[in-house]
């Protein structure tokens, strides 16, 4: 993939995928998020950094957490936000995606935050927008969800500090998970010591080993001595064919219970990108337990998205010089 998400000076212009980015840029996103996280606890939860900018949330697929945290992030930077529900918009009247985009551009918008069920949708849009418009990928098909991966890295850094000594295990439906794909790329770039994937063969990609991942098919051995446990939602809506006997059987084998979690390090943190399915991939006792940082991840999502949005729109000043 061409790295058209960076400007000539290596600044973030679009944020489409973690793939191909360098460690200093990922660190910069986390550092900026750290600076922005204080704003949410202030009397006035706003800074005027993006005042006068117009950001369009373009969601072709349902989302609550991602859309609201993107909206809050934009509002805390004083941008104006529009939420476009595509199901009730002109695309359902037969307008093409590009026609919708060009119409929105004509309204002098500055950024599109895109979620789509087709892999590559955000990249496609980025290739066709006007030079002054930035595109942020808020999840495309099974491909990438870079802001989710960065808020996960931010959460790990807050709890564990440095990445190289860590052992991180990702459990579940890796095959259909854009979150897992982006997480694995980010963890690798940040130099995490050992990345493990745990799941049934039918839900793991076939090329795991070539990616440097350690593959396990049972929680007992897979969770041994890990510092970070990431559980994933079973994406039943993306599964085609009989990959699983039943979600009940999945929980018996791969559901994260207190007993299973005890194989990990005692201070291991438990993460989940949400929405969680209690009793399918995670037991309530673990999701609500002392090692869970699931709700913290949601809070961190706002600061990380503020960081990415301000970096992408800040880099526009460089384009204006030309």
């Amino acid at each position: 993939m061409t790295n058209n998400q960076l400007t000539a000076k290596g600044q973030l212009r679009h944020f489409l995928t973690i793939e191909g980015l360098k460690k200093p840029l990922l660190t910069e996103i986390m550092d900026r998020a750290e600076q922005f996280s204080g704003i949410s606890t202030r009397h006035v939860k706003k800074v005027p950094l993006l005042r006068g900018k117009t950001i369009v949330n373009l969601f072709f697929e349902n989302s609550t957490r991602t859309r609201t945290t993107f909206e809050l992030a934009a509002k805390r930077l004083s941008a104006d936000v529009m939420n476009l529900n595509i199901n009730t918009s002109a695309t359902s009247k037969g307008e093409s995606l590009l026609d919708t985009l060009h119409n929105l551009e004509s309204m002098h918008t500055d950024m599109f935050v895109v979620r789509h069920n087709q892999s590559g949708a955000a990249e496609f849009i980025a290739q066709h927008v006007a030079p002054h418009v930035s595109v942020i990928n808020a999840g495309d098909g099974c491909h990438a969800h870079p802001t989710q991966a960065m808020l996960d890295m931010f959460t790990i850094r807050r709890h564990k500090g440095h990445f190289p000594n860590l052992r991180v295990a990702i459990i579940g439906d890796i095959l259909h998970s854009r979150v897992a794909r982006s997480q694995i790329q980010a963890l690798s770039i940040l130099g995490v010591g050992e990345i493990r994937v745990i799941g049934p063969k039918t839900l793991l990609p076939s090329d795991c080993e070539t990616l440097g991942l350690h593959v396990y098919h049972d929680l007992e051995s897979g969770l041994k001595d890990v510092d970070v446990v990431i559980t994933l939602r079973l994406q039943l809506e993306r599964m085609q064919g009989a990959l699983l006997p039943s979600s009940r059987e999945y929980f018996d084998c791969f559901g994260l219970t207190e007993e299973k979690l005890s194989f990990a390090k005692p201070d291991a943190i438990v993460m989940h990108p949400g929405p969680i399915n209690r009793g399918v991939e995670i037991a309530s006792a673990v999701a609500d337990g002392p090692q869970s940082v699931i709700l913290e991840q949601v809070t961190h999502g706002i600061a990380v998205r503020m960081a990415v949005m301000s970096m992408a729109l800040g880099a526009q000043s460089e384009l204006n010089e030309i």
Binding site: Q11, D31, R32, E34, Q35, G38, I39, R42, H43, V44, K46, V47, P48, L49, L50, G52, S310, M311, G314, A315, Q316, S317, E318, N320
Partner: protein, 172 residues
Amino acid sequence: MTTSFTQADIETLLDTMADQIRLKLANKKPLLVGIHSGGVWVAKELATRLGSDFFDGPLGTLNIAYYRDDFTRIGMHPQVTPSDLPFSVDDRNLLLVDDVLQSGRTIRAALNEIFDYGRPASVTLATLIERSGRELPIQPDIIGQSVSLDKNQHIKLTNSDGLQLVIKSSEA
């Protein structure tokens, strides 16, 4: 007009400022706020001179990077130390400190940020150097020294080996 400062000169300026502050804010239990980074250095010097009882709380620091009016022209600054006001500013008397007052834009941004934290009873502005070049109707209440400089002259406070004021001329 003096256009060079020794470290002893700066000490004298800081002493003068402390005297003025004592007169103006005695018994008002002010809160001390410095603007990154020069204003924080000056604020620390003033706090040393006025003693720990004079101010009612720790030193607050402001970084106005997110309040600048030139973000769309010059983009993001590489490193931003976050603002830290470890107290409620509501109904309090603030002493806002910066190193050099020139255009007034930094102070405009700082005032905007302060009001996002709450509604102070008053804000008093102290600057070590007040120089020519104002672009906004902002004047300091407490001044170390006023300096008249040409547009192509720049004055900057540094803190590598004690506080030093450096004046440079750029080719216009």
